[in-house]
Amino acid sequence: MAAPPGEAPLTAATNIEPFYVLHKGGAAASSSSSSAPSLPSSGRARRRIDVSGLASPNPKPGKRSRDDDAAEDDDDDELYERLRLDAFHRVWSKIQSTINEVLRGISLKLFDQVLRWVQESFSAVRSIARPSAAEVRQPYPLLTDVICRKIPTAFVLTKNAEFVDDITTFRDLAEYLESNGCHLAKLSATELSEKNGVGCCFRSLLRQLLSDVPDVADIFALASWYSAAENYDQPIVVVIDDLEQCSGDVLGELVMMLSEWVIKIPIFFVMGIATTLDAPRKLLSSEDLQRLEPCKLTLGSPSDRMNALVEAILVKPCAGFCISHEVAVFLRNYFFKHDGTITSFISALKLACSKHFSVEPLSFLCMGMLEEDRENFWHDKFNALPQELRKYASGLPSCTREKDSTKSGDNMVDGLSELMNIQKDWSSVLLCLYEAGKHGKVQLLDIFCEAVNPDLHTQKAPNLPNEKSGTSRRFIDQVMDTIRYLPVETLFCLLEVWSIHLNGMDKITNKVKELQSTTISTDSVRITKDKWPRRSTNSTGNSTVALNDKVAMLLDDVTRKFLVSVECLPFHEIVCFKNVSILQSALIGNPRRMVQLDLVKSHKHLKCSCCRKNGIAVLASMHDTSIMCNLAQEYGDVINLHDWYISFDGIINSVHSKIKRKPHTSPSKKKSKPVAAESEAMIQARFCRAVTELQITGLLRMPSKRRPDLVQRIAFGL
C-alpha cells in the first residue's frame, strides 16, 4: 500500500516525531470529542461495539434485515470473532488456572518448609530481645553482639539452569507467605544491580511495604513503619529470586545494613539459587556471609513438574482444547531441543491455543466443554449458525472422511459428545500407560506424543498384536516391557492405581479386578519365598510370568481398543489445533535467516515476471538491495567497496547495453526505459541506499577509519 490515502495523517512531521498519539480509542474518542481527532474509522468502531452487545449466547441472525447481505456477513464475522475471542479467554484462563494449581501443588511442600522456617526464625529472633515500639524507632541499633546480627536466610536450590521457570514459583511463594501473615517484598536482580545501587533497591523495598514512601528512603522510615502496632507482630520476608544475577556489592551492602537492625526489624531473606550452594560464597564477601544464617531448601525437579503439567492440561481434557500429533511432537521437540523451560512450553501452548481460536471458525464451540449442559449449548449454537458456517461444519475433512450420513445439528452435537467420551477413555488409558511407564522412567510427554498419533490407530492390526509396532510405538512398547519385568508388589500397586484411572470403564475395571484377585493369591504364595524383583529365569515363577504377561496383555488390548487419537474422530477440527507451521513461524521468528532469504530470493516474495527467468542469476531488474546482497555472497568477511560498486554498476548497466543492442526483442523489459546508461550519480545513489538498507538489517558493518574501503559482512550462511 503506497500510502493509505486519507486513512491516517501520515505527514512528514510524524516521521520525525519521536512518538505521537495516532488516535484515541473508541471509548476515549466518543467521550472526549474535543480531544479526539476525527477518524474515518471511528464509525466502524462504534458499530463494532454495538455488535458486541449482540454477543449473547443466543444470537438470532434470522431476525436481521436481509437487504444488506454484505453488512450482515460482516456483522456475523465480527460476532463470531468475538465469540471465539471469548472462548479463547475462557479456555485459556481455565488452562492457566490448572497450570497454576498444578505448579503450586508441586511446590506446596517447599512453601510449607519455608513458612515453618520463617516462623522458627522469627521466634528465635524474638527470643533474643523484644524491643518496644519506641526502641525500634531509635536511630541506633539495639544490640551490637555479633550473634544477634545474623539475618536468617533460606537458600532455595531451584535445580533449573534457566531461571525463567522459577519466576512463578517465587511469585507463588511470596503469595503464600503473605497470606500466612508475613510482610513481603521482592527484589529482582535488576534492582540489585551496580547501576541502581543499594539506595534504589532499598527504595523499592519500602515501596512494597509502605503505602506512602517518603522522599528520603532510609531505614528509619522502615523502622517507624514496623513499629506500628498492626505491623509489629509479623516478620518481613525479602524474596530475591535470582541470586546469581545480583550484584554482590549491592547485595552485600544491603545485608550489612539490614543485619544491624535485624533484632529491631526482623527481616529474613529467601534467595533462589540456580546453580550450586556455593553461589553465595562466590558472590558475597566473607564478611557479608557471616551476617547470614543460612538454611538450605530444595525445589522439586523440572521433569516432575513437566509430567504433572502434561497430565493436567494435555492428557486430561481440562478445557476442551487439544493438540494434534504433529503439534505435540513439535512442542516436545521445542521443549527438549529449544530451551527446556516449562515457561516456554506453556507460552508455546498458549500461542497454539490462540492460533486455533483465531483460525478455526467453529472453535468457539470448545466452550461447550466447559458448560454444564454442553449438549444444549451446542444445540443452541448450532441452530444459530449462519448457513455458511453450517456448510463449513458439514464439510470438515474429518466428517467427509467418515461415513456420509445426514448432516444435521444432531450430527455435530453427537459427534462432539462422542468425541468427548472417547477422549475421556483415551486419557484414562494413557494415564494407565504412564503409571506403568513410571517404573521404567518413561516421561509422560513422550507417551503422550505417541498416543495422539493417528497412525497408531490406523496401523493397528488386531490379528497380529506383536507386529507393526515400528517406531510409532517405541515408548508404549517400552511400557509393556516394563510391566513384564515388574515385581508382584509393584504390579499390585499398579493395578490399584489403574482401577482408579479406569473408573467408569466398567468392562475393563472388571478385568483389572480379576487380575487383582489373582495377584493377591499369588502374592500370598510368593510372600513366603524370596521376592522376585526380576523375571530372571523362565523355568521358575510361572505364575508371576503369567500374571505379568496377563497385565501387559490387558494393557496392550486396552491400548489398541481405546487409545484412539483425537485426529481420527469426526469434528475433531473444532477442538484440536493442527496447524504446526503457523505455530512454528509465530513462535520462532528467525530474522537472521529470513531476512537474508528475502533478499537473496526476492522474486519469490515480489512475484514479478521480470526477475524470475533463471532463478539464480543476478538481474538488473531485481531490487537494488537484493542485487547487492547477492553480490555480497561472494565475499568473505570484508567487502571491498570499490569492487562491489563496480559489480553493481556492471549489473545495472548491463540491461541498458542489452537494450541498446536489441531494442525490439525484449518486450518484457518495457519498464526499464531505453535510456542511455544510468547517470553515475544515480547509480551511486542507488548503491548508497542499498548499503544503508543492508546496514539497517544488520547484515553489514560500516568501514572503520583505518580501512575506509572495506565494509564488514556480519551474517554468513542461511
Binding site: 480531544s35 479463547f88 523451560t341 538491495t625
Partner: protein, 379 residues
C-alpha cells in the same frame, strides 16, 4: 567462482550466483578468507585498483539529490505484497486481544504497513506510535504519555460519579518505576480502554540498550497495554532474555517482508559514498582549516608539504617543524606553535606518533592524494 575484482566483475557478476547455493556460503567465506591472506601479485593489483578514491564519486549534494529521485522498482509488486497482508489484519487483532505482542520482521520498511494496520483495524485502541529508528527517543516521555492517557480515562469515569480529583503529582516528575507501577494497577473491564504501543524498530539505535528494553518489557505486560512492534536488524532477538520473551512481551512473530524502501529509517545513516572514504575526511579537514587563521593554515601547510615529500617517514619532528615555521615567520615561540597544534589535534587534523628514533613526531592522518587535493583546495 573467482574473486570478482576490478572491472572483470561487471561481466562476471551477471552470470554469478549459479553455483552460489546456500550451503556454499560457508565454503566461499573460508575460501576468500584464505585468499585474502595470500600475497599474490594479481591480488595486489586488484587491491591497488580497489579503492573508493578511484571511483568518480559525485558531490555529496548531487548524491543526496539523486537519492531522492531514485525511480522505484517493482512498485506494483511491492504494493500488492503489502496489500496481501491486509487479509491478516483481523488475525493480528485477534492475537493482540489474546494478550500477545505482535512482532513484525522481514526485509523492507514496515512503517506504512503497521500504521495502516493501526489506523484501519485498531480503532478501538488508543494508539501511540513510537518511531524507534530516531536517535532522539526519550522512553520516559512515552511512558508518561501512556500514564496520562490512563489518567484521563479514569478521570472521565470518575467525573460521572464524583467530582474530579486533581492529580497528586505530575507523571513527568515521577520515576519510571513509579509510573510503571501506576500502569500495572490500571484494570478495566472495558476492552476499549486499551492502549496500543506501536513501536517502529524496537531494535532501533536509541532503544538498543538493555535498560530501554527492560522498561519496554515492563510496560508491555501492563494489563491494559498492547504492543505491536517491528524489527529490522537480523540480531534483534538477542535484545531479549527468556523472561522478557515469554512472560512480558509474549511475542507472536510475523514474517512480513514488504520490500518498501527504508525512507525515514535510513535518514540517520551516513551515505557510504559520501562519508565512508577519505573524501569526507578531506572535506571536513578543509572546513576546519578554512576557519583557522592564515598563520595556522600555513603551519599546517608546512607539515603537509613535509609529509608529502617524505612519504616513507612516520612523521615530522616537533623541533624541525618549529624551525621551519620560525624560518617563515609563522610562529614566534614554541607556545604559539603549541596552540596551533592543539587546535589541529582537537580536530583530528594531526596525530602524534612515536618515531622510530624514539621521539614523538607529528603526522596528518590523510593519504597522500587526499592531502594534495586538500592543499590545492586550501589555496
Amino acid at each position: 567462482m573467482a574473486l570478482r575484482g576490478g572491472h572483470a566483475a561487471a561481466a562476471a557478476g551477471v552470470s554469478s550466483g549459479s553455483e552460489d547455493d546456500d550451503e556454499e556460503a560457508g565454503f566461499s567465506r573460508s575460501y576468500f578468507l584464505a585468499k585474502e591472506k595470500e600475497p599474490s601479485s594479481g591480488k595486489k593489483r586488484a587491491r591497488a585498483a580497489g579503492k573508493l578514491s578511484d571511483l568518480n564519486l559525485v558531490d555529496e549534494q548531487v548524491l543526496r539529490a539523486s537519492l531522492a529521485e531514485i525511480p522505484p522498482k517493482h512498485e506494483r509488486e511491492v504494493e500488492a505484497l503489502t496489500r496481501s497482508y491486509k487479509e491478516q489484519y483481523r488475525n493480528w487483532l485477534f492475537e493482540l486481544r489474546c494478550g500477545f505482542g505482535l512482532l513484525m520482521y522481514g526485509f523492507g520498511s514496515k512503517k506504512m504497513l503497521l500504521e495502516d494496520f493501526a489506523s484501519t483495524t485498531l480503532s478501538d485502541f488508543t494508539v501511540i506510535v513510537v518511531n524507534g529508528y530516531l536517535p532522539s527517543i526519550n522512553l520516559k516521555q512515552v511512558i508518561v504519555t501512556i500514564a496520562e492517557i490512563f489518567w484521563e480515562q479514569t478521570k472521565l469515569k470518575r467525573k460521572r460519579q464524583t467530582a474530579t480529583r486533581s492529580q497528586l503529582q505530575p507523571f513527568a516528575s515521577q520515576s519510571i518505576d513509579d509510573i510503571i507501577s501506576f500502569l500495572n494497577n490500571q484494570t478495566s473491564d472495558n476492552g476499549d480502554d486499551n492502549v496500543c504501543l506501536l513501536i517502529h524498530n524496537i531494535d532501533g539505535p536509541a532503544l538498543r540498550d538493555a535498560e530501554s528494553q527492560q522498561y519496554l518489557a515492563q510496560v508491555s505486560c501492563c494489563p491494559q497495554v498492547h504492543v505491536v512492534a517491528s524489527v529490522d536488524h537480523v540480531n534483534a532477538p538477542l535484545l531479549w532474555d527468556k523472561k522478557m520473551v515469554h512472560t512480558q512481551f509474549k511475542w507472536s512473530w510475523y514474517h512480513v517482508p514488504t520490500f518498501a524502501p527504508y525512507k525515514v529509517e535510513g535518514v540517520f545513516y551516513p551515505l557510504i559514498l559520501a562519508s565512508g572514504g577519505h573524501a569526507q575526511t578531506m572535506k571536513t579537514a578543509l572546513v576546519v582549516l578554512q576557519s583557522l587563521t592564515p598563520n595556522a593554515q600555513s603551519v599546517f601547510r608546512v607539515l603537509a608539504e613535509y609529509q608529502l615529500a617524505h612519504e616513507k617517514e612516520e612523521g615530522m619532528h616537533f623541533s624541525s617543524l618549529y624551525t621551519k615555521c620560525r624560518e617563515r615567520f609563522l610562529v614566534s615561540s614554541q607556545v604559539t606553535l603549541n596552540s596551533h597544534l592543539t587546535e589541529f589535534k582537537d580536530h583530528d587534523l594531526v596525530k602524534i606518533r612515536k618515531h622510530s628514533d624514539g621521539q614523538d613526531c607529528l603526522h596528518i592522518p590523510l593519504v597522500s592524494d587526499a592531502l594534495e587535493k586538500l592543499l590545492q583546495e586550501l589555496t
